[in-house]
């Protein structure tokens, strides 16, 4: 059923691919078409990455370290200032990401992971996810006691990426405090007097040209909008509250905890033996309340969210218990040991913040001389900790195709290999994005039938290794 749902979702999310206009965005013969002479004045790059966040910076760094890009010119456009730390400040930043082993592999392929490790990160071995409305629980754990993932502050990742970008400064030019305000797209088969390259105009009037523009400018991507790519998007009625918390007592803190409340999931991500990061997705009103209340009440709310059984109902409890005994008959190892989450003692002052949540998916990831990666292409709910990992996955795939194209002497902006990237990533992303969205909706309710469904579903999933491994 989830496959069928994903298929339905997939068709909706993708829109008719046959409708891809051949001439890029509907022959935009805007005044942007300058004479060849003027266009020739603007410096020409092989690749320009627009957006210097984690995904944009990593993309530029990966290409800069690629052997087949040895003599190519790459530019990275970032609206903010550069950030590099030799040592992290003592307090933790409140924006963290859960980095999957696959993403860690990508980061180590160009030397950034070493910098992350020398700054700070927290590996976790186990993930416990459970329902506030029942006893149903699922535990993720790797058999070989390997790390399941790493909790890393976004600033740490950015610092590591900046270091690696500096290492290839002869190939990658980073433009800080530079915002792109306009893009002009070429027609695929250009005629004599029009430039075949993408023209970029910066806010300070400077111009660049490029053979391939990679849009990594976030979920409100300007690159995507200027390319007139339809974006399927949906604002959740939720905001995420983040904060840095201190635990009541030091512990091995290598478990990531997530509890699905009817108002939204609350997650505790380990930062160290004594500190964890909070990501609490809840309604806008509740989020504002949480930010406004004093620190003690805030801490109490968190502990209560993790420990209280107020949402249980006898019916669900009994049904859940029945199912659990059924499973233990069929599969004795199928029920996991429930660990108790740590309790919180303090919150870092000034560390509370909130931001609105939504989902989005671009119907096309590529066009002639343009590709979207990261949140510009897809935006998900943080409940699965997948957001930035999807972006890193995009990078690995696009870099692979671009590297092969460069080694074949191909035109980097050619749709041929860009389409291969799009197909591979959409195939991977669409079902995951649909599943995350479905989970978010499924867990947003107290209605008994749905609670029962997800209770049994969660318990069953916990008992079935093949399904768990896939997740």
């Amino acid at each position: 059923t989830s496959a069928a749902m994903a298929a339905v979702w997939g068709r909706g999310l993708l829109a008719p691919l046959s409708g891809r206009p051949r001439a890029g965005p509907r022959a935009r013969l805007r005044p942007g078409l300058r004479s060849v002479a003027a266009a020739a004045a603007a410096p020409l790059y092989d690749v320009v990455v627009s957006g210097g966040g984690m995904v944009g910076s990593a993309m530029a760094a990966v290409l800069g370290h690629d052997i087949h890009f040895h003599d190519k010119k790459i530019a990275l456009l970032e609206a903010g200032p550069g950030k590099e730390y030799d040592r992290m400040p003592d307090s933790y930043s409140n924006r963290v990401s859960s980095i999957s082993p696959g993403s860690a592999t990508l980061l180590s392929s160009f030397g950034a992971w070493d910098h992350v490790c020398s700054l700070r990160l927290k590996p976790f071995r186990r993930m416990q996810v459970w329902d506030a409305c029942s006893e149903a629980m699922i535990v993720f754990e790797k058999d070989d006691l390997d790390d399941m993932g790493y909790i890393v502050e976004n600033d740490v990742i950015m610092s590591a990426l900046t270091k690696q970008l500096n290492a290839v400064a002869d190939r990658v030019e980073v433009f800080y405090r530079s915002r792109a305000v306009g893009y002009t797209w070429p027609l695929p088969s250009h005629s004599c007097d029009t430039s075949p390259w993408v023209q970029i105009e910066l806010s300070d009037g400077r111009r660049l040209q490029t053979k391939l523009l990679i849009g990594a400018d976030g979920h409100n991507s300007i690159v995507r909008k200027e390319a007139e790519i339809k974006n399927i998007e949906h604002q959740y009625d939720q905001s995420a509250v983040v904060a840095t918390l201190h635990l009541s007592e030091a512990t091995d803190n290598n478990v990531a905890w997530q509890r699905f409340l009817p108002t939204g999931p609350i997650a505790l991500l380990p930062l160290s033996d004594t500190a964890s990061s909070l990501v609490w997705s809840t309604s806008h009103e509740h989020a504002s309340e949480l930010l406004a209340m004093d620190e003690e009440s805030f801490v109490d709310s968190i502990n209560s969210a993790f420990w209280s059984n107020i949402n249980h109902s006898d019916f669900i409890d009994t049904a859940g218990a029945m199912f659990r005994s059924a499973i233990s008959l069929l599969k004795p190892s199928g029920t996991a040991v429930r660990q108790l989450p740590p309790s919180v003692a303090k919150v870092d002052p000034e560390s509370r913040a909130m931001f609105p949540l939504g989902m989005g998916h671009a119907t096309q990831y590529v066009q002639h001389r343009m590709a979207l990666i990261g949140d510009a292409a897809h935006r998900v709910h943080p409940l699965a900790g997948q957001g930035v990992n999807l972006g890193f996955g995009d990078i690995a795939c696009l870099a692979h195709h671009l590297s092969a194209a460069a080694f074949n002497g191909s035109d980097l902006g050619s749709l041929k290999h860009l389409l291969k990237f799009e197909t591979e990533r959409q195939r991977h992303n669409v079902s995951l994005i649909a599943a995350i969205d479905m989970l978010k909706r499924l867990y947003s309710t107290r209605l008994a039938p749905l609670v029962l469904l997800r209770t049994w579903g969660l318990q069953a999933t916990n008992a079935l290794p093949p399904v768990k491994v896939r997740i």
Partner: protein, 289 residues
Amino acid sequence: QLSLFRLTMKRLFSASHSSVDSKEMKKFQLLAQKWWDEEGEYSALHSMNDIRVPFIRDTLLNMSSNYHLGNPLSGVKILDVGCGGGLLSEPLGRLGASVTGIDPLEDNIRTADQHKSFDPVLAKRIQYKSSSLEEIVEECMETFDVIVASEVVEHVADLEMFIKCCSQVLKPEGSLFITTINKTQLSYVLGIVVAEKIIGVVPEGTHEWEKFVPPEELERLLESNGFSVKTVNGMLYNPLSGSWSWMESTSINYAMHAVKSGAQGQSSPADVPSELGSEQPLATAGTTV
């Protein structure tokens, strides 16, 4: 590419002083603007780059011991005979080679020049000249490390003279890469009837079956003119996916790599061409589509 006149016949007429055929030129004249439309008349040639560029690149990399992966053909001087709009010259230029592209049709050269002009790196690495092969022989004796004649010899008037000229402008131990079409029943059916008349993936009238060259004959001509044939590989075009792939059988399209013998005029005794022209069963080609 375009080779002059040479109306079929047997080899009774040997006295042709040019390898360019004016009838062929007219055919390509009409399409001179269409080279760079990747989905247009020349789409099959665009996608052929996906196998012919790696073939040339890897063969040359294997033969040389010092190269830089970031710039694999750096320092290599290549002559692209019958370059058309520059479809093959540009990727070779991007890989670092210094490319000279020649084509008898001026309009083609104009298109090629104009297309490369926007990329300063290519503009420097590639030079185009409207000329036939014979016309440059005198000033280019033993100048080039590599000659590529891709989809050209089936349009040439006098193949033997063409090969002789290649030998003259090639340095000793230099490489000659040829891709062309075999002269078989299958190549008539697939290469002309299906490709031109039915599917239309090749503009109608582009090819004449009489001028197709069987690999055995090409090899014979090469070997008797100072070349040593190293590799022969069959190629197959899939019209559904629009992509090319290698295949065992050379019944339809094929690629050949030959090396001009060294200064002593001996080819090294150790080479054995990987596929000699023994008759290949035709059945394999038809079933792979």
